[in-house]
């Protein structure tokens, strides 16, 4: 008996300490997670609209994606995300393997290859057009960095094969389309003319034999003024460039290997011209020049004579010319007129002939037209029809046809730069929930179905119905706040400067707003968004105010350019106000103070070392002045290896200063020796992280006090030699050093050196611990190290009676100047995967245990319990430690396939993971962004504070009813029995 009890107890212990791992059942996919696929801002587009096969457009984007889109609906047929350093320089469609002598067009329709040139012209790849499988890859030899070009000439035929010409890295290559091999044996020789520039002041013409690749003739000519900017090739023997002053157009003719220059000042063409810029479109015998906020079309005459033929507003986007019927060449241009965009297709030779003029209503928040790609088709009446693929300023991609938008893709979301969360509005009274939800009968029916499912009685149709019901269930996409805080908004700022509000329920865009919509003032042209802050989060005494976010932007790319602040209402997506702040923006520092309307105080530092307080109200000023002495800021100068700490000094003096500007004084500097250490990563805790307790209780009730401080900076440095790629140095040459620095006093609290290790370092900092990931050159493995920081000076607070009576100073405010003593515990493990980013779950009260969210190189997200990276792990934990949940030490961290929270999906081009707490303590929102977006809800310790979604209320109800009935029946029986007993 005793043995049995003991055994069952042991079993209980074992069960309670078993590792909880996150996993999903197949039918739970998509219940609370969503995934959106994007491609990014389109750079090149090639239409493929031959009659045979499906109509598609092949695009390459700035996110290094090559994709095939369905031309009818805009869906992705296939897509490939190349690496971050593998930028695509050109995309073309070429013939694949054609057995017999088919016509070129016909052949490409059935077995075309998509050819991409990437990595500065050093990698050439062919993808199968229908399914996107890679057919071959050739790496081209390159000597230096140069512009790269890809060309698939359709008139150059070499032995049943149409070779591809690729230029890059100073070399011209002719490559066979069939297998990617270099073409060696062309049957007939022809001359390829190549024009190049040397040292930007000398033009060279090479004549290359296409058979052997030999240079037949070479001729160079010096142009003393020098060249600059883009090149526009107007015909097969002429190009137009700008000289270095950008005021003279130079026509270079290279007919038959002779070079001739012809200079035409831009001022001859247009009056009061400024700097000119050549636009890239390839128009025959014509060059488009952007000057004076106008785009002018200049025709290049036979003798190199230039003449202006047309001019348009500079916000016009133009397409590459497209051959239409009868040897005519057309091009498209698109520009804004009010809220509409005008799309025009004209003939190149005759600009008066407008083949197509359409005006299409366009959402103002898409901005201006950035790029146009056109494609023609033959209508039923044998006339030419045109469809245009346009890329807008917010990076969205639209297909226009017959004066309407056929489809649109929000490709701005592929380049999210900053994310924050926001609450939804509270549900107003008067809106009956019952109307939105089901009726009672439906509710009961639904639960009966679920019950059937849980009792394994459901037929396949029932299962499908259950699944459908779950997908739609409980108004998960409603636009109001819910009790558990599951419905929220993620506000994302994109590289294009557009804000998107995404609903956590289904991922749809609730609103979107372009920061620089065309209606804006001209004072700041095209501001770029930098970062995003929660400006106002009303929850206590400003409930009737709408929450808002602050978008910090900048007018121009220079760091000294004046900044722009924009305040956006989260509920409506409307801009409340925006202001040009008149000073530069170097750093933004949200302060832990709010004013009476719950607006958060922010300090913005400029390039002159001044800080500016926002909001500019007297209330904010008085709050700030109260804390004036306690506000510090620090700067990290990565190039010099210096970290500086600053304190507030006084109000700004000077004529331009206002009372919200303050000067700072330098308090401390940490200088890293530049010959041995280079800063590669810095990190602080998230400012809004909630920590539940300051104590860490060990097995035998032993107490450790966590050193929980927001003023801690984690810095990782490597030796300058080891700053390159992994494996570029020997273990002896490289060392990784990590520091924990107090940002108030500049004190180095902890220093840890890893010999023979190398970056990149990916770290996460939460509560009192840092976990970082790096490469160990000696072991040829990635490693993960955890460092936990504990406060030694509080360790004496162990007297129970003092604690009971409250005679301790554990909750008294602490200052970094009190120089608390601390000690650290750390441990390292091997980790099998390369990492892109690491985040940690965050919950409302900070009670729930944490999970690390590791974005792996495979663009998936792995959830790893913090218990695996616990410095208290030992090889043989004692019984008590085991009961506490300490996992025996292993040399590497386990990768459990079920704990990939992205399950079968990939977040292509993963760049960041954002977590936000739900109201329910057990649950946290996880949002990952890259080229794709992914959202899910996680419960690191399972949902201990709520019933499972699939909890069978019907079963509960039935059980209760059955019990009540049983009680009633037994009561009646016992009454009867009692009565008969009495009669006896």
């Amino acid at each position: 008996m005793a043995m049995a009890i003991k055994a069952s107890l042991l079993l209980l212990v074992f069960l309670s300490s078993a590792i909880v791992s996150f996993s999903l059942y197949e039918d739970q996919v998509g219940l609370m997670d969503w995934h959106q696929r994007y491609i990014g801002k389109v750079k090149h587009a090639v239409f493929h609209t031959q009659k045979a096969g499906r109509k598609r457009v092949i695009v390459s984007t700035e996110e290094n994606v090559v994709a095939s889109l369905d031309l009818r609906h805009g869906e992705i047929f296939w897509r490939h995300v190349l690496g971050t350093n593998d930028a695509i320089d050109g995309v073309e469609i070429a013939l694949g393997k054609c057995r017999n002598h088919l016509h070129y067009m016909w052949c490409s329709a059935i077995s075309g290859y998509v050819i991409t040139l990437s990595s500065q012209g050093s990698t050439l790849r062919a993808w199968n057009l229908p399914d996107g499988q890679m057919v071959w890859e050739t790496s081209l030899h390159s000597a230096q960095i140069s512009k790269s070009l890809l060309s698939v000439p359709i008139n150059l035929k070499v032995d049943k094969d149409y070779p591809i010409l690729a230029f890059g890295g100073g070399y011209l290559h002719a490559v066979s389309a069939i297998d990617g091999e270099r073409v060696l044996q062309p049957p007939e020789s022809s001359i390829i003319y190549v024009l190049g520039f040397l040292h930007s002041s000398e033009a060279v013409v090479y004549q290359i034999d296409s058979k052997t690749g030999e240079v037949v003739a070479e001729k160079s000519m010096v142009f003393p003024d020098g060249f600059s900017g883009a090149v526009s090739s107007v015909s097969s023997d002429k190009i137009v460039v700008l000289d270095s002053t950008r005021s003279i157009l130079v026509t270079i003719g290279f007919l038959d290997g002779d070079i001739s220059f012809q200079k035409t000042p831009v001022s001859d063409l247009v009056e009061d011209s400024g700097n000119a810029e050549i636009l890239s479109p390839l128009l025959s015998n014509m060059v488009a020049v952007k000057v004076n906020r106008r785009t002018i079309f200049v025709r290049v005459g036979g003798e190199g004579k230039l003449e202006v033929v047309d001019s348009l507003s500079d916000e016009t986007a133009m397409s590459v010319s497209l051959p239409v019927a009868d040897d005519q060449v057309a091009f498209a241009s698109a520009h804004h007129e009010g809220s509409k965009i005008q799309l025009m297709v004209k003939l190149v030779d005759d600009l008066e002939t407008v083949l197509l003029r359409e005006s299409i209503e366009m959402d103002q928040h898409r901005g201006r037209v950035d790029k146009v790609f056109i494609n023609n088709y033959i209508k039923t009446d044998m006339s030419n029809g045109f469809r245009a693929l346009i890329v807008m300023e917010d990076h969205s991609l639209l297909l226009l046809q017959q004066g309407a938008i056929v489809w649109s893709r929000e490709e701005g979301l592929a380049s999210v730069t900053d994310v924050t969360t926001a609450e939804l509005p509270v549900e107003k009274d008067g809106v009956s929930v019952a109307k939105v939800e089901h009726t009672l009968v439906d509710w009961l029916k639904g639960h009966m179905l679920k019950l059937k499912g849980s009792l394994l009685l459901a037929s396949p149709e029932d299962v499908a119905a259950i699944q459908e019901m779950r997908m739609k269930s409980s108004g998960r996409s409603k636009l109001t706040r819910d009790h558990n805080g599951f419905r929220k908004l993620f506000i994302a700022l994109t590289r294009a400067g557009k804000l998107f509000a995404l609903h956590t329920g289904d991922g749809r865009i609730v609103w979107s707003m372009l920061l620089n919509s065309p209606s804006k003032s001209e004072a700041c042209e095209r501001p770029s968004g930098i970062s995003l802050y929660q400006w106002q989060v009303p929850h206590h005494h400003a409930m009737d105010e709408n929450p808002s976010v602050l978008v910090v932007g900048r007018c121009g790319s220079d760091s000294s350019a004046p900044g722009v602040l924009s305040f956006v209402d989260v509920y409506t997506g409307k801009e409340i106000s925006s202001s040009d702040i008149g000073h530069s923006v170097v750093r933004v520092m949200p302060l832990p103070f709010t004013d009476s309307t719950e607006q958060r105080l922010h300090l913005i530092a400029d390039t002159e070392g001044h800080v500016h307080l926002y909001p500019k109200t007297s209330e904010a000023l008085s709050i700030f002045q109260r804390e004036f002495q306690n506000v510090y800021w620090y700067t990290v100068e990565g190039d010099d290896g210096i970290i500086r700490g600053h304190g507030m000094k006084s109000s700004c003096a000077g004529e331009t200063a206002d009372e919200y500007c303050f000067t700072t004084k330098e308090l401390w500097t940490v200088v890293f020796p530049s010959e041995s250490e280079k800063i590669i990563s810095t990190l602080t805790r998230k400012p809004n992280e909630v920590v539940h307790t300051q104590a860490k209780v060990n097995t035998d009730q032993d107490l450790l006090y966590k050193y929980v401080s927001r003023n801690l900076l984690f810095v990782a440095t490597v030796s300058p030699k080891g700053a390159g790629e992994i494996g570029s140095v020997t273990p002896e040459e490289s060392a990784l050093v990590v520091y924990l620095i107090d940002t108030i006093t500049g004190r180095i609290l902890h220093r840890l050196s890893h010999q023979g290790c190398q970056g990149p370092v990916h770290a996460v900092f939460s509560e009192n611990w840092v976990v970082y990931h790096y490469f160990n050159l000696r072991a040829h493995k990635y490693e993960v190290t955890v460092v936990e920081i504990y406060d030694q000076s509080r360790a004496e607070n162990k007297n129970v009676w003092k604690l009971v009576l409250g005679k301790h100073n554990l909750t008294a405010p602490i200052s970094s100047y009190s120089r608390p003593e601390m000690f650290t515990k750390s441990q390292s493990y091997f980790f099998a995967q390369s990492v892109k980013t690491i985040a940690v779950t965050s919950t409302a009260k900070g009670i729930t245990s944490k999970q690390l969210l590791i974005g792996t190189i495979g663009d998936q997200i792995l959830a790893l319990d913090k218990r695996f990276v616990d410095p208290r792990r030992t090889l043989n934990p004692s019984q008590a430690e085991k009961e506490e949940g300490i996992i025996p030490l292993t040399d590497s961290l386990p990768i459990i396939p079920q704990s990939y929270i992205t399950h079968s999906l990939k977040v292509e081009g993963l760049r960041g993971i954002v977590t936000a707490p739900a109201k329910l303590e057990s649950t946290t929102h996880v949002f990952a962004y890259g080229v794709d977006l992914f959202y899910t809800r996680l419960a690191p310790s399972k949902t201990y504070d709520s019933l499972a979604d699939d909890f069978s209320y019907a079963l509960l109800l039935i059980t209760i009813v059955a019990l009540v009935a049983a009680i009633y029946i037994t009561w009646v029986i016992s009454e009867k029995k009692e009565l008969s007993e009495k009669w006896r």
Binding site: L591, H692, Q694, N797, Y817
Partner: protein, 181 residues
């Protein structure tokens, strides 16, 4: 017996009433048998026997009271055994045992008057049994509390008082980092 019966049945000739305690024999026609003294200490004898009886009853009562007073000891032993069986981890079994170990002495202490009511007698000495009973139950209670403590359910460690304390506020605030690019 038969003889006696027969004698009795045939008619009584004489009878001596031993219980007649009157000292005057005149009421009877027959003299007392020689040696029979009516002033014999018969009365004292019966008194002592009654006393004896009483004493016996009292003693028995006392004994019973002691028995009741000592009964928690057995309980104590059993509890101790059960507790040892339950182990030192918190789960349903150990919690149940511990709470029953706490509840039994408590309820016993509450009803201590009732339990000893049946022994209530002027002559029965109840103070000591009550004290012992109390002591043993208190011992049981202590055992329960000790068990509670070994389970870690009593806030006797510093950790129990600190773990609800939030981290201290910081006086200074700082921010910054790399410059925006």
């Amino acid at each position: 017996m038969d003889k006696g019966k027969a004698v009795m049945g045939a008619g009584r000739r004489w009878a001596v009433d031993f219980s007649d305690q009157s000292t005057v024999p005149s009421s009877r026609d027959i003299l007392d048998p020689p040696g029979f003294s009516r002033a014999s200490p018969e009365q004292d004898d019966s008194a002592t026997s009654r006393q004896k009886k009483d004493a016996e009853a009292t003693w028995k009562l006392q004994q019973k009271a002691w028995e009741v007073a000592q009964s928690p000891f057995k309980n104590l032993m059993m509890m101790g055994f059960m507790m040892w069986m339950a182990g030192n981890t918190v789960h349903l079994f150990s919690i149940g045992i511990t709470f029953s170990a706490l509840w039994q002495p408590l309820s016993a202490l509450q009803s201590v008057g009732k339990i000893f009511e049946s022994f209530k007698d002027n002559k029965v000495e109840l103070l000591m049994p009550k004290l012992v009973f109390l002591a043993l139950n208190l011992g049981g209670l202590a055992l329960g509390i000790w068990k509670l403590n070994t389970l870690g359910l009593l806030p006797t460690h510093a950790s129990d008082w600190v773990s609800s304390l939030p981290p201290p506020q910081e006086v200074e605030h700082s921010g910054g980092g790399f410059a925006f690019h």
